[in-house]
């Protein structure tokens, strides 16, 4: 019931977001057809604006847009004139989702064990080296990691392709470049969560009952300790699924992240609003998943 209610709020929320995005992107100075090369006569520019209804009042444009949106039509792109926004999303979203999902898996797969292990081995050298790794990853941004990885693996050793998309080999460097930062953050969250949980009373109680250390940590402590990671993973996944501008540019991956940034730079109004709505929907739905996961992991959490 609770989740249905949450899902129902999605519709007005998306409406509000689409309206805000629609108005904000139009308030920004400069328009989609302001470029170095202006048409030879003002009539041509007027024809352009008329074609995309930019000469109408904003409320009318918005209603027109909503009318399309209800039918699942995000409208034509103002910059990529042979494509509709739906065309672009259809082609690019799967790529971004795939890369994002793999980077998410990578970040979780690297981050959680490191966080767990450094917490268990607190104060030992494993803790220091693991924590050092985590902090290092958090400190180095993707646009440094990516060229570094390319230089080593693709140019020096020629083990992996430098860029492009199309085979599993092509995916390795982008996944690492995208995932390393998040693996650092997750490791830190996990370590923190684990340390807190290990001090809580139910662990002491379980230990007093004579549970083995492994079962204790894995079965009881872990599922509570992982909660901060779970709540972080919702927005993180939404972020990763719509693509990363930096990584997609450096590796020339045909994903959505490039469009999200360039769309606003190009004042491609329809593209920007379409992507913002998509991103918002993903964010809301994934947060819902996170809340759901809470009920499964922590028996104390109940929604009513």
């Amino acid at each position: 019931m609770y989740f249905l209610k949450r899902l129902a709020t999605l519709v007005p929320l998306l409406l509000a977001i689409s309206f805000l995005a629609f108005v904000l992107v139009r308030i920004a100075p400069g328009g989609p057809f302001d470029r170095e090369r202006q048409p030879a006569s003002p009539e041509i520019k007027r024809a352009l604006e008329a074609k995309f209804h930019l000469d109408e009042p904003v409320w009318k444009q918005y209603l027109r847009y909503l009318g399309g949106l209800v039918q699942g039509d995000f409208g034509p792109s103002l910059k990529y004139r042979n494509h509709t926004v739906t065309d672009i999303i259809k082609q690019s979203l799967p790529v971004s989702m795939l890369l994002g999902m793999m980077a998410f898996g990578f970040a979780m797969g690297v981050g959680i064990p490191i966080g767990y292990y450094t917490a268990v081995r607190r104060g030992h050298w494993e803790d220091y080296s693991g924590s050092f790794f985590a902090i290092l990853m958090v400190c180095i941004p993707g646009f440094v990691v990516a060229p570094l990885l390319i230089m080593l693996f693709a140019i020096q050793w020629r083990l992996l392709p430098v860029a492009l998309w199309g085979s599993p080999l092509h995916a390795i460097l982008p996944i690492a470049a995208l995932g390393l930062y998040f693996s650092g953050r997750i490791a830190r969250l996990m370590r923190e969560g684990m340390l807190n949980t290990m001090q809580s009373e139910f662990i002491t109680a379980a230990r007093a009952k004579g549970l083995g250390e492994n079962a204790l940590l894995l079965k009881h402590a872990f599922r509570i300790a992982v909660l901060p990671v779970v709540s972080y993973s919702g927005p993180l996944l939404a972020d990763l699924l719509v693509g990363s501008f930096v990584i997609e540019t450096i590796f020339q991956i045909p994903g959505l992240g490039v469009f999200l940034v360039n769309g606003s730079l190009n004042r491609d109004y329809t593209l920007v609003v379409g992507l913002v709505v998509l991103y918002a929907a993903l964010l809301v739905v994934l947060n819902l998943f996170v809340d759901f996961a809470y009920t499964l992991l922590d028996p104390r959490v109940k929604y009513e």
Binding site: D34, E36, A40, N82, F106, M108, A154, V162, Q252, F289
Partner: protein, 576 residues
């Protein structure tokens, strides 16, 4: 393939579903690997690792299926993702390179010198006054789907380019045709009054407003290309997604995946198919110069040919290499003055700034490529023209002019800004460096402190159009090989003037030059006009002429020649 199901008491895991590969190509080794991971998964310690590994493997399987394409014979890095491949809509050079491979015009540009040669038109007659062209179309030219290309197609295509509903930025390229501009603006409603007329299936009569020295060049321009009527009428704006897509040029559009690639496949029915040198060409959209260089260096790409795709940091090293080709290019970097408000409403102040600008300092210290300091606006090497010399670098004279205008030693000079736009990557990084250098020059020579204002690209162009600036960084790339593509900019009515400068003498001269049939007098008149622009009035100050850059190994790649338009028809390019 399956994942371990949840054992009782085990932590539930989120399930991400991937569409399965339809091809059952999961090889033995993959299955062994899967088995390994499943075994790993059963041991509980590695729970998270197994989840991650399962995900990865299914994802890899997904990426590796459905992409069974033959490899390309040639891979070209072409600049950013095409905004469109509709020749009547495109505005950018990367786009035009591709549309020219897909759609022919009546003429096309030859690969060596980029001069117009017959394409869909086999030959043409020009009336003695130079205003009427009669084109004779090839009878062996057909669409890639087999139907003959006739004058009907040409007339329909040109009228489409001239329709406000098409909304092409470059519709103005057809306004040289009689009645075309009035038709576009709705002042005439009878298409028969537009000077495009089919005499029969293979003869086309075109009447111009004035004799036009570069009309045959224009016929090779994408806006005048011949496009398939039935496809466009059926599919509307998405017509390039049609399958099969009828093309009139040397190639078919194989695939077009946004930000991934455009694949061109040799069109076997093209009238000149015998001279198409490559079977499959992949055109990659690349925005980052470093990525372009990486792809080239590791042998993935054969050619990189966009001047914005040279990492400026490496220019000193790259320019010395044998596979790095640079040449003069039909483009000028300059700055505009806003002449509608003080202090730049005074031509003396503008000339003072111009003469305080040390142009070689910018080319030797900043651009470092093959760019040449610009003493005039129309680049050297343009056809049928010999540009005049503009103002020299003369700080003494500059100071004198500034004093005459009432600002001796820069005293009392009003607050002035130099506006340019910022960009994270590519050639645009240069704008900021040039701005700093100019600021220094004006400070040293004139004693004037100019503030720098860096704004975002779209805001920059919008404020330039609305004359909300004092001095503004600018550049212009010629559309065709003629002085008019530059000098036409600063006529009073041009949408690209953007200086507020209106000069009736200049307007008259440009008009007069374009009425000339005497090819000796025409450049003379243009020269007089250009002198007004760069020496007398100086609403603009040219800084340098662009250089074009291609990188390819001439021992491996054939059919590429350098020319002033950076024009390299893909039809002739091949890998040896």
């Amino acid at each position: 393939m399956h994942f371990p199901t949840r054992a009782p008491g085990e932590i539930p895991r989120a399930r991400f579903c991937f569409p399965r590969c339809r091809t059952s190509s999961a090889s033995d080794s993959t299955q062994r690997a899967l088995g390994f991971f499943i075994r790993l998964a059963r041991s509980r310690i590695t729970l998270n690792i197994s989840r991650f590994a399962g995900l990865l493997i299914s994802a890899f399987l997904l990426t590796s299926c459905g992409r069974r394409e033959p490899p390309a014979n040639l891979i070209i890095i072409n600049g950013t993702e095409p905004e469109s491949l509709d020749p009547h809509i495109v505005t950018g050079i990367p786009e035009m390179r591709i549309t020219k491979a897909l759609f022919d015009g009546l003429t096309k540009l030859d690969p060596r010198m980029a001069r117009p040669i017959p394409a869909l038109a086999e030959r043409w007659d020009v009336s003695p006054d130079g205003r009427v062209y009669t084109f004779h179309l090839r009878t062996n030219a057909v669409w890639s789907t087999g139907e003959p290309i006739t004058t009907e197609d040409v007339v329909w295509s040109w009228m489409r380019a001239l329709s406000p509903a098409t909304a092409g930025d470059y519709a103005g390229q057809l306004f040289y045709i009689k009645g075309a501009e009035d038709w576009y603006g709705g002042k005439i409603n009878d298409p028969a009054q537009v000077g495009i007329q089919a005499l029969d299936a293979y003869r086309l009569r075109v009447e111009l407003n004035a004799p036009l020295a570069f009309f045959l060049d224009l016929c090779a321009f994408p806006t005048l290309a011949v496009v398939p009527r039935t496809t466009i009428e059926e599919y509307g704006d998405r017509w390039l997604h049609a399958n099969p897509l009828s093309t009139s040029g040397a190639f078919l559009l194989g695939t077009w995946r946004v930000n991934d690639k455009v694949r061109l496949i040799r069109s076997p029915l093209y009238w000149d198919a015998a001279n198409t040198a490559s079977e499959i060409i992949d055109v990659l959209p690349t925005g980052s110069p470093n990525t372009a260089l990486n792809l080239y260096e590791t042998g993935v790409a054969d050619i990189v040919w966009d001047k914005d795709l040279v990492p400026t940091e490496l220019m000193d090293v790259l320019i010395k290499r044998p596979d790095f080709h640079s040449f003069i290019y039909l483009g000028t970097y300059f700055y505009r003055f806003n002449v509608t408000r003080p202090p730049f409403n005074d031509a003396r102040v503008r000339r003072a700034f111009a003469m305080a600008t040390d142009k070689p300092r910018i080319t030797t210290k900043l651009t470092k490529g093959a760019e040449k300091p610009a003493g005039h606006f129309v680049p050297d090497g343009v056809a049928n023209y010999d540009p005049p010399h503009g103002l020299p670098f003369d700080p003494g004279q500059a100071r004198k002019l500034l004093a005459e205008a009432g600002f001796p030693g820069g005293k009392g000079f009003p607050r002035t800004t130099y506006t340019f736009f910022s960009a994270a990557a590519g050639g645009a990084k240069m704008h900021g460096k040039i701005a700093v250098e100019l600021q220094q020059m004006w400070r040293d020579s004139l004693g004037v402190e100019v503030e720098l204002r860096q704004i975002e690209r779209k805001i920059f162009y919008s404020s330039q159009s609305r004359l909300e600036y004092d001095i503004s960084a600018s550049s212009w790339i010629g559309d065709y090989n003629d002085a008019n593509t530059f000098l036409d900019l600063f006529t009073s009515t041009s949408g690209n003037n953007r200086t507020g400068w209106k000069n009736s003498r200049y307007d008259v001269l440009i008009h007069e030059a374009n009425q000339q049939t005497d090819m000796k007098r025409r450049p003379e008149i243009f020269r007089r006009a250009e002198l007004i622009l760069i020496a007398e009035e100086s609403p603009i100050v040219p800084l340098y002429f662009y250089a074009g850059f291609n990188y390819y190994n001439p021992e491996k790649i054939g059919g590429v020649w350098t020319n002033i338009l950076d024009e390299h028809p893909m039809q002739y390019i091949y890998k040896k």
